[in-house]
């Protein structure tokens, strides 16, 4: 099973597609097999895709401000479906308004996400973290 695979998508009823395409392009270039589910993806679809593909990481984007509600519970569902050691990365404009990123990060880490990213994240940094987390290095 190839762990160097990413399931990617924008969660909930969010239809901001530009960032999603950039992420797809960037990680494909870096040699990952990216399974891009596009926009408006439900938690179930993320998990279904991860299960069939055996991907090492699910990358969730949320831009439209409902991230907190949409992302809650994904970790629990993964465990329930037998995806015990899958990585969960999340990024974008995760909450409404100008909450300091630190407190956003704490909130999402608590929900069970392994890494939380702000909209201005350098994707090279993300890639380095991913190599580390997937133990590819």
């Amino acid at each position: 099973m190839d762990r160097k695979q990413i399931v990617l998508g924008v969660i909930g009823f969010d239809c901001h597609s530009v960032g999603n395409r950039i992420l797809d392009y960037f990680f494909t270039e870096k040699g990952y097999k990216v399974h891009n589910l596009g926009v408006m993806v439900s938690q179930e679809e993320f998990i279904d895709a991860a299960q069939e593909t055996g991907a090492g990481v699910i990358m969730v984007s949320s831009l439209y401000g409902h991230g907190e509600i949409d992302c809650e519970g994904l970790r629990d569902k993964c465990i329930e479906r037998g995806l015990d050691d899958i990585l969960l990365y999340v990024g974008g404009n995760l909450v409404v308004g100008k909450t300091p990123f630190k407190s956003v990060e704490t909130k999402f880490l608590k929900m069970g996400y392994d890494r939380v990213f702000s909209p201005d994240t350098d994707l090279e940094v993300v890639n380095n973290l991913l190599i580390e987390d997937l133990k590819l290095g």
Binding site: M1, D2, F13, H35, M40, D48, T53, G54, H66
Partner: protein, 446 residues
């Protein structure tokens, strides 16, 4: 040139003699007798000699007798690889005996053994994807000493491991879902049809028939698929149509459709094949009538003793034909249950969801709401040409169940295969696609 076509059904053995001149197919004669369950070749011999005393120029035959081609499907995710497996099984002319999501448990294996499918189809995992549960399922199947054929069409990266588990007693083919959300069932369907010929034909008592007729059989649904395919390709105005084949043991639904997803609709799940076939083994007019009435609307007010008694009678004599007014009424009720439920399972659904953007529609499966033409065939439907049977199976459209709209045809024009020729014409759809398609459409009443 004369063409002899025979179809051995679960209840009736049917035959037709066609003529073929200048690319035009015509019916010469047609006949049917009850299927000789003990020895299928007896009935075939009888039909053949009734239709012609001469040697025809070409012979083709199909069979759905003795349970047809029974397949159990093992997959991973319900809406992904398992659904792909079901589509492949249906397209290959099979009938689903059982389905197993998320791999296979021991009790799942016991269920398979008790239901005796001819084939187990193992799917799951994209190429390079999931392995563990598939390998475990394969091991469970191997250890069970399942006597039938195992076909593997999952994650292609573990083909060798799978072959080893089965000590090569497995037919390995391309993954039916090589990447996420793609469906490539053709190779698997072809392989299953080949397995049918090499492993299953003898066991179903068709070896003798093959000798008498001098050609290989195909599963009846394959003939129908070929015919639906030819009609779609060659008949103008028949690019978007459906057919219901209501038989004694199963109800098969076929539809050919290239769907444009209307904007504003979000589609979920696997893309649907151009020609889709679904088979319902618990819906039928005779052999499956006991299961059929379990699908009745459960209304404590209605008295069902009449239909229950009728089912008891016909279960003892599958070739019984309704005579009295009451019996005819009961058969119509059975037919309505079959049409309604098979159609509901064939078609998709749309759910409306509220978002920040307002209301959007999420669609799963096929949308046949605007289907223009629906052909009804099968022994019962052909005999009675009851034009209101479809609409009376769906009183009150649009149909909304659990706040999901069912995407069934809303007001299709109904056509009857009243001479009950379609499966028989279908046997020649590969040899003469254009002529068979033209004749099939011409032979309908409607």
């Amino acid at each position: 040139m004369y063409l002899l076509s025979i179809d051995i059904g679960s209840t009736w053995t049917k035959g037709a003699l066609f003529s073929m001149e200048n690319g035009v197919m015509k019916l010469v004669s047609r006949d049917a007798i009850p299927t000789t369950q003990e020895n299928l070749s007896e009935g075939v011999f009888e039909i053949k000699s009734r239709l012609t005393s001469k040697t025809p120029d070409m012979v083709r035959f199909s069979s759905s007798a003795k349970g047809g081609l029974g397949i159990s499907v093992i997959g991973l995710v319900q809406d992904l690889s398992l659904y792909a497996g079901k589509l492949a099984a249906w397209s290959s002319g099979g009938k689903l005996i059982s389905v197993h999501a998320n791999g296979l448990t021991q009790s799942g294996m016991n269920e398979i053994l008790s239901k005796h499918p001819d084939i187990i189809l193992i799917t799951g995992g994209t190429d390079g994807g999931h392995e563990e549960k598939i390998i475990r399922a394969a091991t469970t199947v191997q250890e069970s000493r399942f006597p039938g054929t195992v076909v593997y069409a999952g994650n292609s990266h573990i083909q060798e491991i799978i072959s080893k588990i089965f000590k090569n007693r497995v037919v390995v083919t391309e993954n039916i879902m090589p990447s996420l959300g793609s469906f490539q069932g053709e190779k698997a369907s072809d392989i299953i049809r080949k397995v049918f010929l090499s492993e299953i034909v003898e066991g179903k008592g068709l070896g003798k028939v093959r000798e008498i007729l001098g050609c290989d059989p195909v599963p009846t649904p394959v003939s129908m698929m070929n015919l639906v395919d030819s009609i779609t390709r060659f008949n103008e105005n028949w690019g978007f149509f459906g057919a219901v084949d209501l038989g004694g043991a199963t109800t098969d639904v076929y539809s050919s459709s290239t769907e444009d997803y209307t904007s504003g609709i979000v589609f979920r799940g696997l893309p649907e094949p151009l020609i889709k076939r679904t088979v319902e083994g618990d819906l039928g007019m005779r052999v499956s009538s006991k299961n059929t009435i379990e699908n009745m609307d459960q209304n404590p007010e209605t008295d069902n003793t009449g239909i229950q008694n009728w089912v008891k009678q016909i279960s003892q004599d599958f070739s019984k034909i309704s005579q009295s007014k009451e019996e005819k009424y009961m058969d119509r009720e059975l037919a309505r249950i079959c049409i309604r439920n098979s159609m509901l399972r064939h078609c998709g659904e749309i759910e409306k969801v509220w978002t920040t953007e307002g209301e959007i529609s999420v669609q799963k499966g096929r949308n046949l709401k605007k289907l223009k033409k629906l052909v009804l065939t099968g022994g019962y439907l052909s005999q009675f040409s009851d034009f209101s049977i479809y609409s009376s199976s769906f009183p009150g459209l649009p149909l909304i169940v659990d706040s999901k709209e069912k995407l069934i045809p809303q007001s299709p024009d109904i056509y009857f295969d009243d001479k009950y020729l379609w499966p028989l014409i279908g046997n020649f759809a590969e040899d003469f696609p254009e002529a068979a398609a033209a004749f099939a459409v011409e032979s309908l009443s409607g």
